[in-house]
């Protein structure tokens, strides 16, 4: 790396602890968070020549989010492969894991109907409802979906009314074969 690159990289080091905290806030252990932070800094080092003084914190935040998202995507990919294992393979697994997997594969009737009702909401509303049901705050929903908080509130408000009607329709048939 160039001397200029070294100078730029030096600007990032004071924020090391904040990146560790980013990951511990996200549920990682302190040790895992330090390992992930090392990875973030290593990536920043490799790309520091493209850094245009846009602010080390926002640059680090992007790199940390990138790593977190890619790690979660890998976890999901692994989970998908695990769930795809044939049922006979489940026999050798601990009871709790088998129960979880069977639940996942067969699903509950209410949850299936809820998902179906959310699916029928008008475009753009379902995404807000799903994240709301996953317990994200309005601000988190807005930031992640690239919307304003007021747009999220308005979509949720209208979706709530639609969902009431749709769920009534779904619940009228509750217990019937889908």
């Amino acid at each position: 790396m160039s001397v200029e690159g070294d100078r730029k990289f030096g600007k990032f080091w004071p924020y090391y602890g904040r990146v560790v905290k980013f990951f511990t806030d996200f549920g990682y252990s302190r040790e895992e968070a330090r390992d992930l932070t090392q990875e973030v800094f290593l990536r920043v080092y490799q790309r520091v020549d493209t850094y245009r003084d846009e602010g080390p914190l926002s640059y680090l935040l992007t790199a940390a989010r990138n790593l977190a998202v890619n790690k979660l995507r890998d976890d999901h990919a692994q989970k998908r492969n695990a769930v795809l294992e044939p049922e006979e393979k489940l026999a050798g697994m601990p009871d709790e894991r088998v129960r979880n997997m069977v639940d996942v594969m067969h699903g509950g009737e209410l949850s299936e109907r809820l998902h179906r009702a959310v699916e029928r909401l008008r475009p753009g509303y379902g995404a807000c409802v799903r994240l709301y049901l996953a317990d994200l705050s309005y601000e988190e929903i807005a930031r992640s979906l690239g919307l304003s908080v007021s747009a999220v509130k308005s979509r949720l408000n209208l979706a709530r009314k639609e969902l009431q009607t749709l769920m009534m329709e779904e619940l009228e048939n509750f217990g019937d074969e889908p």
Binding site: W13, Y15, Y16, G17, R18, V19, V20, K21, F22, T24, D25, F26, R30, R34, Q38, F41, L42, Y45, R47, L57, S58, L60, R65, N66, A68, V69, N70, L72, R73, H76, A77, R80, V83, D103, V104, G107, G108, L110, S111, L114, H115, P123, G124, A127, V129, R130, L131, L133, A134, D135, L136, E139, E140, I141, R143, S144, L145, G146, L147, M167
Partner: protein, 246 residues
């Protein structure tokens, strides 16, 4: 009456099943483009919809940098600094921009320097006399078939500005280098109007390249990404583009 907590439990119970149904979550590059407002509305809604099945990813994208750092002891901080330096030193050397360097004679180098200086001087003089500087806009491009379900909306570019294009694609095989060709699609037969080789894949899966649109005719184009390895080249992805006059 079903309570919110009952709905949440019901939702969680079959979330993994729903994730199986809808497929993998969007890539980071798509989520970043969504947050920046760089996606067309149809594409933005499609990415939002897909992301909503993955609340953990949505949380990661919404997370801000904490105001305070983790309270690391000076020993931990020093240990991490040393470990990081060791990792940096273990990194492979950066690839040279050209595969090999040939020895040049002094006269050839001097002639090349004169030509470069004359060209740069000419451009500066031309720009100064024209009194205008073209702007540079960045566009993250997603390959055809990955931008939205069903319809294939072309990526819109204008002849008024130049672009730093960042086509995104994750090939199954790694190639030594990559090439991008821009093909004018409205002509018969379609022909290559611009080509850039020696491109290297960035860690985020993009292949950044600068494209000047000043001399492009308005119309439909296809940007094609090739993987190059020795004498072998493979077409990897294409990006439909529409160039329009301001």
């Amino acid at each position: 009456m079903i309570s919110k907590s009952e709905l949440q439990k019901a939702y969680r119970d079959s979330l993994e099943q729903e994730q199986m149904r809808v497929g993998p979550p969007p890539a980071f590059e798509q989520l970043e483009a969504l947050q920046r407002g760089d996606l067309l509305e149809d594409e933005a809604e499609r990415v939002r919809e897909q992301l909503s099945f993955y609340p953990d990813l949505a949380r990661a994208m919404a997370a801000a940098m904490p105001e305070e750092g983790e309270a690391l002891t000076p020993e931990e901080l020093e240990a991490d600094r040393i470990a990081l330096l060791a990792k940096i030193q273990a990194l492979p050397p950066q690839p040279l921009p050209f595969p090999e360097r040939r020895p040049h004679s002094r006269a050839l180098s001097a002639a090349a320097a004169v030509i470069v200086l004359a060209a740069v001087g000419g451009i500066v003089l031309w720009r100064a006399t024209r009194g205008e500087t073209r702007g540079l806009a960045t566009r993250v491009l997603y390959a055809d078939g990955q931008r939205g379900a069903g319809t294939q909306t072309p990526i819109q570019l204008s002849t008024a500005v130049d672009y730093l294009l960042e086509p995104v694609f994750r090939p199954e095989l790694e190639y030594r280098e990559y090439r991008l060709d821009l093909i004018e699609a409205d002509t018969a037969p379609p022909h290559v109007v611009w080509s850039h080789s020696g491109i290297h894949r960035q860690p985020d899966g993009s292949y950044p390249v600068t494209l000047s649109t000043a001399k492009l005719s308005p119309g439909r184009y296809e940007l094609v990404l090739y993987g190059i390895d020795g004498g072998r080249s493979a077409r990897l992805a294409s990006y439909t583009i529409r160039v329009s006059a301001p």
